[in-house]
Symmetry: C2
Amino acid sequence: MTSPALTLDAVNRMSAAEFSAVFGKVYEHSPWIAERAFARRPFVSRLDLQMALYAVVQGASRDEQVTLLRSHPELAGREAQIGTLTDESAHEQKSAGLDALPPAEFARLAELNRAYREKFGFPAIIAARLNARAAIFHAFEGRLHNDLEQELQNNLAQVGEVARLRLRDLLA
Amino acid sequence: MTSPALTLDAVNRMSAAEFSAVFGKVYEHSPWIAERAFARRPFVSRLDLQMALYAVVQGASRDEQVTLLRSHPELAGREAQIGTLTDESAHEQKSAGLDALPPAEFARLAELNRAYREKFGFPAIIAARLNARAAIFHAFEGRLHNDLEQELQNNLAQVGEVARLRLRDLLA
């Protein structure tokens, strides 16, 4: 992304409000994760901060986890079409070419998104920067065969990967 | 699995050798991960232990990470056929029905395993307990489209999920 890289020392000197402003975006529309992790300062490394954030997610209640999943946009979905994606999500979806899908693929992804949300009640999440477009299509088709508990966990793992990469963009 | 559930208190009283014997299996054939995490005692929760182990993986050198990936068996691969899977892997592969594949699916998975290893130099890893058989096939087909760096990271995330579930089996 375009932000200048921060140093760990600067992070450890941040106020709660500054920390939330910067790291609140690491988990999509979910600044409460950074806010809870703030108590774990000082962070001795980027990995330490990454783990503190991920521990909040893993240790959250099931309702909170589902809320986190529902805070994510669909891939090439409504938010992308009307231009309300976060900068981070727009960048990620573009990296896999999801901003310029041929019409047939766009229609297929819309159908997969719809079927997935209907079955599970939250969107299918995959770290777009870690997958080629074809891999994303295959993954979504396959994951429709899983059960709710499996997909809750698969989605949380993907959310963790997205966060890891966003944190790497922010912090040297 | 069949082990009685441990308490966190018992874990925090373990010697280094005991800790390695119990948690060395959380990451397949890679007790060095538990051995490095031992220094982080005391663990205040299972999640804390899970994160300490995963932080070792994420903080390891790239060579160590590749070695970890190569320590994993293929799904329905040679180790499964000759009976040398770890108990944990045998249990996981069985949960997705990979121990009893129809011949055509067995042949297809063997082909996917071969193609994946030829492209990346390590086996395709997926948390079998988090995926239906059909989802595993789709995932492997899709991941063949990714590049080496993406698959190194996707595999490490899957390894982390496997470890999380193994730890949940061991610790109340």
